[in-house]
Symmetry: D4
Subunit: 222 residues, 8 copies
């Protein structure tokens, strides 16, 4: 009885998003093995997410240097996909504690060949911070809005912009924040239309969704 | 075996808030009986809340005219408590659907002899509506902020005002709004300090809490 | 003390989506009043959602005929917004019980001046039904996928298409379906990237989000 | 006061499934003691589940070599039950992260003297992986289908096969996956009939249920 | 824009279970229309479940008499499938309140051409009731066990029989019974192996699962 | 600002149960300090619960030997209360994993001067184990029944005995067992009357409740 | 196929509590049939609970007059059990809204031949009401304490009395009261030992438990 | 791409409460960096909360001595705000386990320049402890009441005092206490009016809310 592992290499072709490897919950050995395997020139493109710094730094130097690795984001890849994508994604976060999710989204988009602009620390407790950046945010075609606790940033932003907003609730907070469930329900319950939401802490998923939008419109651009 | 009903008439003296009768879930007969009983001149002051219009209008005319009844609020009382209270309470609501709770709070405060100012329809989907009224709101000493769905109004307001805010989540919304639980958790999770919260749809409780604040400071006023 | 109702007429200009009126939970009198008020030529454009047939049909004939009303969708409006929008939205539903939500989305998009194609009864219990329509679905730029129960349609579709998918969980099902919460969590937990989700039964919200995508790319089209 | 431990040695005779020892939550000392006790020739047959590798490897060598131990499965037993069982069980899993549960089921069945075929990595994000193996899967009499996250594999499979499917939700995933509860509810809510479900991560229970089916039909075979 | 309804007529061939129509939540008009449509000789076989007596009795007499309808079960069909199936299913219920679910299962099996034996009122509050029928129950090849409240019947039965047990939690009970969720979790948590479970009140699903077992072994019988 | 600690020494006199110290969550230093403080002859009687062995064994030898400490129970006290109590409590547990809770109850009762009989490993997966001990159990006046997972033991026992049963759900199990919540709800939902329940893992509380029963009847015994 | 209904007439003998019929959820026809059946002299004793007044009053007069029926309690029985039971049960309730549950308990005990004393309206918002009755309450051997909302009455009482307290949470309240779940959890979490709890609104169950205590001590009384 | 951190230095001016830094979940490096940064004379005032002792004690001595640090509270600040505030806050806690939250509130108020009085160990299991301190408590203008488990202290206190009470549920307790959720719901469900509530363990938030009350009335004091 041996394990049959089926990598779905055609996924990129079929859906626009190549396979990614979610490292959380996998053993160090498994992760290091995969990093080695996909480090060579000919290997198909793969994105590693939730990759802890202490694991990555245990990878042999010669393999490490094949990868771009961002510690805040916990993301590694060999090189961005080589595609010409129209437009830009705004990544707006409520607080400094949301940084790892914001950068997971940013680095995933970088890997997919898409431009981003990151606007951190725009939480509604100080509204002026959001209002000061609004014109720049509206210059992007899609907004990823990231917030924990009560997630009010997303509602407020939706009342101010004509752009589609992808809400990412984060697991920041304690007590009734319930590890992000309150932010999630809050975003889904928003009184302002034009919001859709991904799983808690799913910066990667928000990036893929934003990418699918931009890819769709780039492919039909003359 | 007979039922022993203990009205707690000393409660007003002990806590500042006389006994109130919550009508929801009581039979029509019981409610009409109580309305008759407390309609006479000598009866102790009592506040009826969640009193449906169709029940109140079935009360005999001679008893009906002893009461001030507000249909939106579902609140009835014979006359306001005769006390000199310093200050004013701002009642700010997010949407028209929150009206019954906003007015339950307003009428309870009226009964307790406290001045109020009501600011309806200030939800964050159109931020300018709140910002336009901010100076007036800040002229009050205590704010009751009422919102359903994701309840973001409360967080936004807390970032803009130095006044204490009592959040009242309402059961407005569907799906993950979960009959007010999302608004409740959202308010408790707020990223902005200076908020405390009462039960879902509890306009009465918020009013009592606000009243206790103003009564405390009135009693020690020179 | 009179109620201050603040219609947010500038919302359309600011966010691209004019104000809508959610009728569920409002009294018949309120709804009929609003339908009358917005029926005249000069009135600003308004969309009524969750408008029950028996209420609409009690509206005076002369006002009724000012509106386009769809009973399955529970949606009424005077005339579509007059704007030139590029592209088309695919609305894919799992079963016949999801029809009212699917058509709420379709009619909202019609009102916003956006073309749609509706693909009903494509649930995964008979996979061939989805696979047979895939090419047509991919001809649209955005997909709204609607399903109750376990909502597996959305995951399966995301593995087959390069288009962004907006999942709408519906409250179809019993027991652990928990009025749509299982479909909601299932869609958010999807193993396939490129999905984002709106509140349970929120066909209107999905349509607004899809509209914001198409409006964004139409406005920047040469 | 001494502890009275009642091993239920007749259980095998009564129900077809001999007693098993679930090691999770037991102290290392207790587990090692039980492993020693049941290692001798004359001891009744016992299955150890959720047995961590570091505990097993601390067992004295002479006892260790009495057992067949599978690290992925966390399962140990002395020798398979000696019975002639008709048929074969297909074990189908969605992703590599489900391997420990898949092999817990497989090893439990091996212990009970039942043949299995394991099909890993058949998640619906790449449907072709499942469709390519369907004929082989249908050659088995019972299917155990294992998936975490949204568990859509089980619904899809139920629409494709005439075989009974035992769903095993796994605790794979984060956020709203809620440690397997979303996969569990999703499988129970499935739109496709012919599925029943066991507890989260309960590969052992699924195997026992499958075994009871095959044993029933073997015992009545001519 | 017209609705595209896709009946999946090949489902019976593919999975052994022909399409069924779940009437709960459908309008009376829709149900009566479907009952008429499928009442003719040539129509494909269809099972109606959760069909309320008052709706069925409003069907025109000439159509009514085409159907076998059981009021307790809420099930209607034209005639049983014509197939030779080996074996028998025991349907064991805890209390009289579980009757509608027990008979939903029994009638579904009757429609699928499978023999059943029904054992009602065997709840564990009076254990002797179960023990008195055990030999008869064990004469069947598969057991469907139906219970609300705490669902202990299923655990007790699993400790007494070598047959596979399909647990059906029912929504009987109040307070913490939580409309069947306690019985569901209780069955899934059972200390006795050899149980799998379907959705709350899903007598139909349990019957389909049992049928798939018997069909599988009938098809391979010499 | 110094901390005011109010030990409630009169509690024993007022309620029959002297104050106890719940050690879980307290720091090692705090616990050792309290153990020292109450170790002297003149100190009021105190019961320590959830006292981990590694903490107790770090207590200075001269203090240690003042206490009776049971490691399974996690309970320590200086000497039993000196009172003559009529009757005996049966402590019945479902499995070996419930031992720490069963002995927490037993040792608490020993401290309160009450006789107990412990019946371990009587879970319903092997009903004969319970039935074999029933006469002995009925010789006690009060039964404490302890079970995790689905907690069916309590329902079954309530159908067999005329004695009052105090159910103690334990946090044994995984997945939907939800750390004892399923056993708790199951016991509260029991179809058999004559059961009441305490918090999850609360062997101490069950013992106090049983003690209050026996103390009440002892005090009025002639 | 006919329904086999097994009344468990030996239950009274075995457990001290004869079978009872819970009417909620049963059809009017079924209830009237059972009331007729058990109205004759020779019929075994049966208690009807949750029996609505409008149903009882539709029973034929000649059967009606065979029963004692209490409308507040919703309880009917032919005559109390003829047994000599030592002691008395105190039934303490928090508010007038808890009356139906308080009297369900009182009437069940009356049926079982046990004396009760009812203390209504003793909620903690006016502590003096409870303290004034404490001596009388302590004259009983067992206390049933009934409260909705936050259920604090039970904790407070447990700190004041040496008697065992059976808590009955009621479904009184709105919002986070969650139909009695908050009162239930609150009672189970009580900081005061000597409390055990039954299901929400289960006055009947509390009475049976109290009865089992008194019966046990009466049977062994010299 | 560099991170943009926006400290909201105007918050104090706008809302009366300067920015605070919640240390839980931040890395040691980040916290030490911030402590250094804000230790100098000219730096704006900042409050550190949830600051673990082992982290604070790793700060360089010269920075450490710039701060007032309280280990029980986990709170550090350079010096209290220099403002003249009228009145005093009573901090009442139920048990010794609530000390860290009680002192988090006390130290936050000290930082904001507000006087406090702390009353520990006043839980309702020994009512006399609370009643003995009532006059002193009523000498304060605002009460912060802190309790875990079932949180009954808050209800009892609200029935005894005319002062506004801010409830702080704590995560003390096990099983159904659910890490403070039961205390939270219990406080929100209280039968006594005049209570509002903050998030679980949110001593800081309660202090800010109390401060806003006192600041409001100080600013308008002649």
């Amino acid at each position: 009885m041996e394990q049959n592992v089926n990598f779905d290499y055609q996924r990129g072709e079929r859906t626009g998003i190549p396979e990614a490897i979610f490292c959380e919950g996998k053993t160090k050995e498994t992760i290091l093995g995969l990093l080695e395997k996909f480090s060579s020139e000919g290997a198909p493109p793969v994105l590693f997410t939730r990759l802890a710094a202490d694991i990555f730094h245990d990878l042999k130097r010669k393999f490490q240097k094949q990868y771009r690795y961002d510690e805040t984001a916990g993301v590694a890849f060999r090189q961005p996909l080589n595609q010409e994508i129209y437009g830009k994604v705004a990544i707006v976060s409520a607080g400094t504690s949301d940084a790892n999710i914001a950068w997971e989204a940013a680095k995933t988009l970088e890997y997919l060949g898409i431009r981003t602009e990151v606007f951190e620390d725009c939480g509604v407790a100080g509204l002026w911070r959001l209002q000061a950046r609004l014109a720049e945010i509206n210059d992007c075609q899609v907004i990823i809005a990231i917030a924990g606790m009560e997630g009010a940033l997303v509602s407020v932003l939706a009342g101010l912009t004509p752009r589609p907003i992808i809400g990412v609730p984060t697991s920041i907070g304690y007590g009734v924040c319930e590890k992000g469930k309150t932010a999630l329900r809050s975003m889904l319950s928003s009184c302002a239309p034009g919001i859709s939401v991904v799983n808690i802490d799913n910066g990667y998923g928000a990036a893929c969704f934003a990418a699918k939008i931009l890819m769709t419109f780039s492919s039909i651009q003359p």
